[in-house]
């Protein structure tokens, strides 16, 4: 077992899973940024899933499903991740203590609602929040929550509740740790194939995902009436895009950061310009969020048609973008 003696370093990240993955890999000697972890695992996406309802509104995702990034790490770095789930909460906590005593940094899947250090207004029932535990001090666990700027603490009882929350995506006490990595460098080919995969996902023929999903959502938004429900519907889109740890604009800015790093690794100069372009597309998403927020606040008349058109423009820009990206890494 390779274990690095250095103390664990907390790094602030935009997204919980890519942050947890990057920080854990870095702890094990792989120099990996959050953006690189995100891009290498081809986590960028778009999906409009009207049949999955969260508190009455459809799920709109700007990234691939939970655990996708961690699994991406296994492939790229031959990382020996160990995943364990537990039927018995006591057993799950015992195992966590055991691993901490061995000096492991342990990743956990938790429910945001039961984590006391989260701001009250941000505590929703979302079961796939990733965090790292790097130690124990008395009855408190020392927690490196990637989306928090500073390390946090959490009592044993609260952490147990958060780990064994039930419902959709129930964590079942999932913990994971690294039992060593096979390689520590990122190859040019790995980056290129990760980008190709993202292109495939974004330009996929499935109507609910990628740019086609955006168009479908645009049509849906255009058809909304001006009721209170519609305002909440639009608010829900923006919340998924901006509020829930995305690094801004539904991960588009993180992806721009990844493309920039990719220039050095692959030597494809064109990616620098594409990173710039992705940044602009991200600005387009923020523009959409801003308009929507103004309509919600009543500073502007609520015109769903306009918001739908903005989404359609975004879909057009991204279609064009990913076509160029495809040729750049071909």
């Amino acid at each position: 077992m390779t274990r690095i003696a250095t103390a664990f370093q907390h790094r602030h990240a935009a997204h919980c899973e890519s942050g947890a993955a990057a920080n854990l890999m870095t702890h094990h000697g792989v120099k990996l940024s959050e953006a690189m972890a995100f891009g290498l695992s081809s986590a960028l996406s778009f999906a409009y899933l009207p049949f999955i309802k969260l508190t009455g509104f459809p799920l709109i995702a700007y990234r691939m499903p939970p655990k996708f990034i961690l699994r991406g790490m296994i492939k790229q770095f031959q990382a020996r991740f160990r995943f364990e789930t537990f039927r018995d909460p006591k057993g799950g906590m015992r195992r966590l203590d055991e691993l901490l005593a061995q000096g492991q940094v342990v990743g956990l899947q938790t429910s945001v609602f039961w984590l006391p250090y989260f701001p009250e207004d941000m505590r929703f029932h979302f079961n796939a929040h990733n965090l790292l535990v790097y130690g124990k001090d008395g009855g408190d666990y020392l927690i490196s929550d990637p989306v928090a700027d500073l390390p946090q603490r959490c009592s044993s009882a609260d952490l147990q509740r958060a780990r064994f929350a039930k419902g959709a995506l129930a964590p079942k006490g999932l913990l994971y740790f690294l039992d060593g990595v096979g390689r520590t460098d990122v190859s040019a080919e790995a980056v290129r194939s990760a980008i190709r995969r993202t292109v495939r996902i974004m330009l996929s023929p499935i109507p609910l995902t990628g740019v086609r999903g955006m168009r479908m959502l645009a049509n849906k938004v255009s058809k909304l009436d001006t009721s209170e429900y519609s305002l909440h519907y639009v608010g829900n889109i923006v919340r998924m895009q901006e509020e829930i740890g995305t690094g801004g604009a539904g991960f588009r800015f993180i992806y721009a950061a990844f493309l920039q790093e990719a220039v050095q690794i692959t030597g494809i100069a064109e990616l620098a310009a594409l990173s710039e372009r992705m940044n602009e597309i991200g600005d387009g998403w923020r523009e959409f969020a801003l308009r929507a927020a103004r309509m919600i606040k009543g500073r502007e008349t609520f015109e769903p048609q306009k918001l739908g058109d903005m989404l359609r423009t975004q879909a057009e820009s991204e279609t064009e973008f990913f076509r160029i990206l495809k040729t750049a890494v071909a």
Binding site: H12, A13, A14, E34, A35, K53, T55, G56, F113, W114, P119, E120, D121, M122, R123, F124, H125, V147, A148, D149, R161, A165, K166, G167, A168, L231, H232, G235, N236, V238, R239, E242, E243, G245, G247, G248, A249, F253, I254, A256, A257, Q260, S275, N279, G282, D283, R286, A289, L290, A292, A293, I296, K297
Partner: protein, 131 residues
């Protein structure tokens, strides 16, 4: 987004937390910037929070008027809906809706009450008492 455009208006929902955002610095490099949150985020988060608050208040009024059981109030207070409570407790949705009937709820066997209490993370006695 440029570093200077990273929103810092503050978002009351964030409290003292900062969130990481990616933006382009003066040299054209994408970097992480700690943001105090933006008005946009605050608008949509508070919209969602207020919606849940309104649902809770409605439930409270119904419970006090004797039209619904405390279970509905506590469900809303825990930011859940029937679909979620059903997933968490393992009790079918139509049964939960039946249990919103005050008479039925009053006669609920302790075992079932304990399952609701467990799902909501509240003590059983509190669940039985009104809002």
């Amino acid at each position: 987004m440029n570093v200077n455009d990273v929103p810092q208006e503050g978002n009351c929902a964030l409290g003292s937390h900062r969130k990481a955002m990616y933006a382009k610095d003066a040299g054209g490099k994408m970097v992480i910037v700690a943001s105090r949150g933006s008005e946009v985020d605050e608008t949509v988060t508070m919209q969602a929070v207020r919606r849940m608050q309104a649902l809770t208040d409605d439930a409270k009024a119904r419970v006090l008027a004797g039209q619904s059981a405390p279970l509905e109030y506590w469900m809303c207070a825990c930011r859940m809906d029937v679909a979620l409570l059903s997933q968490v407790s393992g009790i079918w949705q139509w049964r939960i809706r039946r249990h919103f009937n005050p008479q039925r709820f009053a006669q609920l066997p302790p075992r079932l009450l304990a399952r609701y209490a467990e799902a909501l993370g509240l003590p059983s006695e509190l669940l039985k008492s009104g809002p």
